[in-house]
């Protein structure tokens, strides 16, 4: 497993994927800060108001698309140059190939999240916001990342199945809107893309009840297990298409 993960890291060398991952949090934060700066009269809740501005577009729309881009990239490497044939005949189990890719995308997204929260702290300090840095935002970041892991399992499954780079990203865009609709309809706990919204407390900063919190962690775990096992099963039982 460790060797599978290091092989995945090796494949990402010189890909400059880090550049794409870094740009989005930076841009989200800059636009969110500009909006906060121009509307400070209406946004009176200090650190929390700044969070609503910077996390809204990032958490709801662009983080899921960023995940799908990472998954498509990591899947594309296998679709090119008949690499599937090499992967499938190597002495490594299918499960460890999938899990290594899932972990690597998870680490990339964790990097984006840490960068985002770091920039949020810098922005809040530069704005001289009253009160200490709200520790719960770190919890929201971790919860958001955990929700990202279930989206990653789903998107990775799609990207390993669909040879096109762009189609899974398009599907992710549609899913973002379905997720938003389900969140508004108070069914957010039953869809991975809405779970990200809940996890990052983007639209409502009210704390989750104990029950909601437990459900959040359990349902996400269930999604991860379901999507991962479906993909591994499919890779084991169906012929891969390689050209």
């Amino acid at each position: 497993m460790k060797r599978s993960i290091s092989a995945e890291w090796l494949k990402l060398r010189h890909s400059r994927i880090g550049l794409i991952i870094a740009v989005l949090p930076i841009l989200s934060l800059l636009i969110g800060c500009a909006n906060y700066y121009f509307n400070q009269d209406a946004l009176q809740n200090g650190w929390y108001s700044l969070w609503t501005q910077v996390a809204l577009f990032y958490g709801v729309f662009f983080l899921p698309i960023l995940i799908s881009i990472c998954c498509s990239y990591i899947g594309r490497l296998e679709h090119l140059n008949r690499n599937w044939n090499i992967v499938m005949t190597s002495p490594v189990s299918i499960a460890s190939v999938f899990l290594a890719k899932w972990i690597v995308v998870g680490v990339l997204i964790l990097f984006a999240q840490v960068l985002f929260i770091g920039l949020y702290w810098v922005a809040g300090t530069l704005f001289s916001l009253p009160g200490p840095f709200p520790i719960e935002t770190i919890g929201w970041m971790i919860r958001g990342w955990y929700a990202c892991m279930s989206i990653t399992a789903l998107q990775l499954g799609l990207s390993l199945r669909i040879r096109s780079f762009a189609t899974p990203i398009g599907i992710s865009l549609c899913a973002v809107f379905i997720g938003l609709g389900m969140y508004i309809a108070k069914l957010g706990l039953f869809f991975p893309f809405s779970l990200l919204n809940i996890g990052m407390s983007v639209m409502s900063q009210d704390p989750l009840t104990d029950m909601q919190n437990i459900l959040f962690w359990i349902i996400n775990l269930a999604f991860i297990i379901i999507f991962a096992s479906m993909t591994i099963r499919r890779l084991k039982n169906k012929d891969i298409v390689s050209s």
């Binding site: 636009i31 577009f57 729309f61 881009i69 498509s72 990239y73 780079f165 189609t167 398009g170």
Partner: protein, 250 residues
């Protein structure tokens, strides 16, 4: 040229790009329908044709850059994947003409998408029973404005999709474009006009004026400067892209 264009359509005949676009547009229109319904429920004065034009134009700021990026990437990436760009370049057809054929093919698909949007606008208006007949002048301005902006966005995307094999950059650019298009309304006009993705809102026939007493939809006068800006960006992205890709080593 017609032959080259025919070949482009032939290559994508089983790629189901049209169906994929319809899927995007259905999600966008469902979202627009929900948003208009909520807006009318809170303020019955919003039950006008202008509301649907504004709502879809503002959503296009997010959807169209990503949709254009996806369509262009699929059409260009097939040449990278099969190493067929080298084969095509070895034929007695100039790379510039191949580039033009792909550009026309992409934009014809996007025009089809915009046509579907226009159809949805009519359906939403008729379903909601808006007063008066369909304002055809607004509809034509909507189609023209969206197409004009998309021509520039597609030219930029085609350049990036061809020049950089790793499609993550092209899709990343599409995502950033969607981000800027979506938040365009927050920028001052001078900054907004520098970004092509914000033109979906600037070339929209309708705008929304926020006021403390009552916010209203108003018909936006046509701006020759914005139209010219869009055309200049289209020509710039297309010719620079064509020049770069035609001279790039494969």
């Amino acid at each position: 040229m017609i032959k080259l264009l025919g070949l482009e359509y032939y290559k994508i005949r089983r790629k189901k790009i049209g169906i994929m676009m319809i899927l995007f547009l259905v999600v966008e229109m469902l979202w627009a329908f929900m948003s208009i319904s909520r807006s009318i429920a809170s303020n019955p004065d919003h039950a006008v044709w202008e509301s649907v034009f504004f709502s879809i134009s503002s959503m296009n700021g997010l959807f169209m850059p990503i949709m254009s990026a996806v369509v262009v990437s699929r059409i260009c990436d097939m040449e990278h994947k099969g190493s067929t760009w080298k084969m095509l370049a070895a034929t007695n057809v100039g790379r510039g003409r191949l580039y033009a054929a792909k550009y026309i093919c992409t934009n014809s698909l996007i025009l089809y998408g915009i046509g579907v949007q226009a159809l949805f606008i009519m359906v939403i208006g008729l379903t909601k029973d808006f007063p008066g007949t369909l304002p055809s002048d607004l509809l034509f301005r909507f189609i023209g404005g969206t197409l004009l902006t998309t021509l520039a966005v597609a030219a930029l995307q085609q350049w990036i999709s061809f020049a950089i094999k790793n499609q993550a950059f092209a899709l990343g650019l599409g995502m950033l474009g969607g981000f800027i298009g979506m938040t365009a309304g927050l920028f001052p006009a001078a900054i907004r006009h520098l970004f092509i993705w914000s033109y979906y809102l600037d070339l929209s026939p309708v705008t929304y004026r926020y006021a403390e007493s009552a916010s209203v939809y108003i018909v936006q006068p046509e701006s020759v400067g914005i139209v010219l800006g869009s055309l200049i960006m289209t020509l710039l992205f297309y010719f620079v892209g064509n020049f770069h890709v035609s001279r790039q080593e494969i």
